[in-house]
Amino acid sequence: MSITADLIRGHTDTIILAALMSEDSYGYRISRMISKQTDGLFEMKEATLYTAFKRLEEQGYISSYWGEEGTGARRRYYAITATGREAYRRLMNEWAAAEALIDKLINPPVLDGDYT
């Protein structure tokens, strides 16, 4: 599991951007969505999540605002920006390219006549 977690960690930004593609959201809702989507197999640590929020906001990929809740609690919402959507598409393309490449590299080469 920890190795899987390491692999996924490299794609934290893509995961968060993906979560924000359809609608604005806040920290806990995103992390709940992630664990639901993976049937509880992967849970993003709050530390990872907030660090990513901060980084993405600095890069201009997302923006944040305080939303008032009925109960009087303030909640910080995040929204994806136009550059963020662009970055998401780029990251998706990168992932597709990497996936294809890694697939080729890690599948055992079909032994053909040359090696016998």
């Binding site: 806040y26 920290g27 806990y28 992390s31 709940r32 849970e43 640590k45 709050e46 530390a47 990872t48 907030y50 660090t51 901060k54 980084r55 009087g72 609690a73 303030r74 909640r75 910080r76």
Partner: protein, 248 residues
Amino acid sequence: MKAKLKDYIEIIFTDAPQTHRAHELKEEMYTDLCEKYDDLVAEGKTPAAAYHAVISGVGDIGELIEELKKEAGTRASEPVREKADEPRRARFYTPEEREIMRKYKNRCAVMSAVAVAMYILCWLPLVLLSVLIENSEVGSIVGLVVMFVMIAAATSLFIIQGMTKPEFMREKAKDDDDDDDDDDDTPRNKKGEKHPVYKAISGALWCLTVVVYLGVSFLSGAWHITWLIFLIATAIDNIIKACFELRS
């Protein structure tokens, strides 16, 4: 349990700079963690189990703290210096607490203003009445009574302020005291700590004693005996002190 969550956040943010951004982050985390906690309890977890699940999900925020520090450092050095003057371990407040605090501060401002005004003007009725009313003895007695009433009212305003201070603000004040005492942590500091309400009452008592002493002495002219008032006041002060110590 939510208070424990808040404490936990305070602990993991101990090394964070006291910036606005860090404050916001703490608030954001608190609302998120509370919601997670509520969800877990709703799923049937015990409060303790839910608390531990929430805590273990937070992870290592070291990197986040480093980011915050960098951010605080890269800003112009002036504002950072300003921030350093803020209370060392400024607690963050939940929205409800902030609202209560705002109301309390407004109320305190009004009460203090009225009380100080009464202290300043309390001699006025005495002087006015003795000048205006022909029979000066009645005038001065009425004036004196009005003066005492004003002083008593002003003093009780201060006492009420101390007693209605929200619990969480008292905790903070105590935390700050503890921080200050860190360098000379003698037992005296722990033992000599006075109850804030007692301090207020005691202060008021001595003011009133002086007023009563002067008032009674001038009116009766019995200076040879009125000093006993101070002994009585000392007795009352000690009785009040005993009451507070018994209660705590």
